[in-house]
Amino acid sequence: MARFPNMDDKCSVLYLSRLHLDDLSLDHLTDSKRQQIQQLHLTYNRLSFLPPSVCFLCNLEYLDISNNALTVIPDDIMRLTNLKTFVAKNNLLDESSFPKEFERMQVETLNMSGNRFEDIPMQFLKMTTLQSLSLGGNRLKSIPAEIENLNSLEMLYLGGNLISSIPPEVADLTSLRYLVLCDNRIQSIPPQLSKLHSLLSLSLHNNLLTFLPREILSLVHLQELSLRGNPLVVRFIKDMTYDPPSLMELAARVIKSQNLPFSSCDLPSNLIHYLNLASECPNPKCAGVYFDSCVRHIKFVDFCGKYRLPLMHYLCSPQCSSPCSSNPQSDAESEEENSVPADRLQRVLLG
């Protein structure tokens, strides 16, 4: 058990890192000293449990117990009602390590990188005060839809996991500025991500992306985008798998494009519902719609006049295309809609 050197009267930070500690007692502290401590560093020790003494530092706001051997966080942590930042990187924690009540803590920054999480604990997904969540270098296979509950989240670091897809609910994190999904197994980006209007930096390097959704262009505040180590297509690849539209779809397309009036007196409710599902063809020169049958179209868009990124969007039919892209393999000057001005997306890390 270690005792630490005398603390200054004004000192609120306690550094107890790299001391070979396997336990710690703060019992000899006076109440006033105990109340003085706002930051505690216990990194690089030999702790296999959180010393109970720590939980009696009632004014503790910052706790870093990284690089120890913790498997469990005790219920007593709930006593740290002022805890704002909790860092426990490189321990042995997983989704069952936290007390049931943990969600009631008002923590703003949680860094649990380098542990053994296979799922994001349910308690974390209820902590609406969370501004920053790091679970890098764990074993997460997916991101649950409940992530959308974290409406204060500004930073989400999930790099170095086993994630294969991004749920559209991530797009509901409207305060998000920094999203890190590098070193995973992601094959596609949901177009809804364009709703992340506050996003400044998106890290997608070392995944399995072959193209990006065209909607990514609407992330106007994005300054950093890393895409290296993805099998992005470099040449136009014609999409050969096109299922021709059904008769029902063809009829529905005519109704919508001719603006034929219809009402519930005319049609059964299932057809009314179907007609309301029409999607507008994204080609601005086409006034058409599609329902189930569409073509995946990849266009190369110049970023900052320098780099050509493959962006994908759906078109209503193989014949639907803007005049300039009739020869997609040509190196002709990009048309207006094909280039992103230099002040947008200034920093794209691809190579």
């Binding site: 670091y157 790099g159 400044l200 320098k306 920093r347 890390l349 190579g351």
Partner: protein, 196 residues
């Protein structure tokens, strides 16, 4: 020519003074510089004031302008931060790890008939206090902090100092020129990490 005995630099200040002496001459003995830089044992309290991190990308912070003969900079790499593939504009580049680790991937200069993207030549992880060296005749490199839990800090010496460099798209070998910009408070980010 007399070879001056150089004592191991105990502090960062010692290292800077020694480098000034070494670079008084016009010729650079790469091995000598590498040894001197490697022998300085990193002491965080000596360089912490230069280590300004950015959440989204790595930063470059000027330490010393070496009487115009060299630039000494500290680079701060957050988790997952990496650079693009770049050259060194005919200058010597020394890279010493002050904290954490960096992965260096070497590439050959791309040739016209590039098929299937630029291929990496070799890769290694640089550990704390190690000092690597590169110049354009050796090739191009990408430097990355691949850790998801640790930050990294590196000390870079460039001689002569340079204002622009090329960055390369690994998929196609196409390159672009980047310009160093200077802000009022010091050197602002080389957009090396920022482009393809």
């Amino acid at each position: 020519m007399e070879h001056t005995e150089l004592i191991k630099p105990e502090t960062l200040e010692d290292l800077i003074q020694t480098l000034h002496k070494i670079f008084e001459s016009d010729s650079v003995n790469v091995e000598e510089v590498q040894n001197i830089m490697e022998s300085y044992e990193s002491k965080p309290h000596e360089w912490m004031k230069y280590a300004k991190f950015d959440q989204y990308r790595y930063t470059r912070n000027l330490v010393n302008e070496g009487n115009g003969k060299f630039n000494l900079m500290i680079l701060c790499w957050g988790e997952g931060h990496g650079s693009s593939i770049h050259d060194h504009t005919d200058s010597h580049c020394f890279l010493k790890l002050l904290q954490g680790q960096l992965k260096e991937t070497l590439f050959d200069w791309p040739d016209r008939k590039l098929q299937g993207g630029m291929q990496q030549k070799s890769q290694r992880v640089l550990l704390e206090n190690q000092c690597a060296y590169i110049n354009d005749s050796i090739g191009l490199h990408r430097v990355e902090n691949v850790s998801h839990t640790e930050t990294a800090v590196s000390l870079h010496l460039y001689s002569p100092p340079f204002q622009t460099c090329q960055t390369f798209d690994q998929r196609t070998g196409h390159h672009n020129t980047l310009t160093l910009t200077r802000a009022l408070s010091g050197l602002k980010g080389f957009n090396i990490g920022a482009v393809l």
